[in-house]
Symmetry: C2
């Protein structure tokens, strides 16, 4: 018997399919499930079904939502004249954690990447343009990742929006707070010099 | 909105409860679930329920089983006169991978550890003794972990079995194959010298 029992092997396979989870970790996770009480195992299984069925995309910003609209789009206090464009729902949470941004978001669900066959039609650019028609939006902040794909996406969208008279801005590049200047790469450092501000 | 949507947060919490899974990994895993198709999510949820409900303990060796008996205890070709005693079902898989051992197993589900309030009654020693009554068993190999608890458990069981006329052996200690002698700790190295064999 070189293999696990079928139901156990199946569960290990399920865990192993996740990115960054190796065989040993998947096995440890499956044994964790075996060690749960009946109620705990049911709750775990239910949590997966619930997360998958109850979470949809917000009709406005394409962020995750458990209703027609996401909590941010529903919030009357958010400033609808500023839209922050991000690649992924996780980026929304990252920015929300700063408690600095009071506007609304737009989630692209990806970035333009010809290498992976992802063009402008494969991400939620159409949905973003649909939000800009009524003239309520004054500024769009591009907060795509500082990668080649993120940059290309930001450039592509900014070229579409500028003729519409909308201010398009980009997150500042620079040295991360708390990091050591010595270890900053050349590109980051030259962007930090370029974007220097008066004190 | 500093927190995730309730169904998502619940799923993250479920993953985070696993040993060795931090918040970032749990979040990544939950987002992986959101990205699954309906069928995949159902299969994942079902795999958890299945593994938990279908896997029981073998009536003979206390290893995991999806039936009354585990595949090894069912196997007519296994040598029932040699029992290998391990702490955990994972250890059975580890030994099976060597394809060296043709006997049967006994899974203790733990080791004696007074620090954690685990005495001989909390692990499956009673079940092991019940298997030895008919005189069919000639040798018991103690393959508990090479830790203080594993050692103590092996000693405790061997003292119970010796009066019954059963040979009790222990896995060899020594330097791991492929390792560098320079980095072996003193205890392992002195056990390796002690247990040296003629070539």
């Amino acid at each position: 018997m070189a293999y696990h029992l079928a139901p156990l092997q199946n569960l290990i396979d399920q865990f192993e399919r996740m990115q960054g989870i190796g065989h040993k970790t998947a096995q440890r996770m499956a044994f964790y499930v075996l060690g749960l009480s009946d109620e705990e195992a049911t709750a775990f299984s239910q949590a997966i079904t619930d997360a998958h069925t109850k979470i949809k995309q917000c009709k406005i910003c394409c962020d995750l939502a458990d209703d027609e609209l996401c909590p941010i789009c529903k919030d009357e206090k958010r400033d609808r004249s500023v839209i922050c464009v991000v690649e992924d729902p996780r980026d929304v949470y990252a920015i929300e954690r700063t408690h600095e941004f009071k506007g609304v978001y737009h989630v692209l669900h990806g970035a333009i990447s010809p290498m992976d066959n992802i063009g402008p039609e494969q991400i939620r650019i159409k949905e973003l343009l649909a939000r800009l028609g009524d003239g309520e939006v004054a500024e769009v902040i591009m907060a795509t990742n500082p990668t080649v794909e993120g940059e290309a996406t930001a450039m592509y969208i900014s070229r579409l929006l500028k003729p519409m008279g909308i201010t398009v801005s980009r997150l500042a590049y620079g040295v991360p707070v708390g990091a050591d200047l010595e270890y900053a790469d050349e590109v980051t450092l030259s962007r930090a010099i370029e974007g220097r501000s008066l004190i």
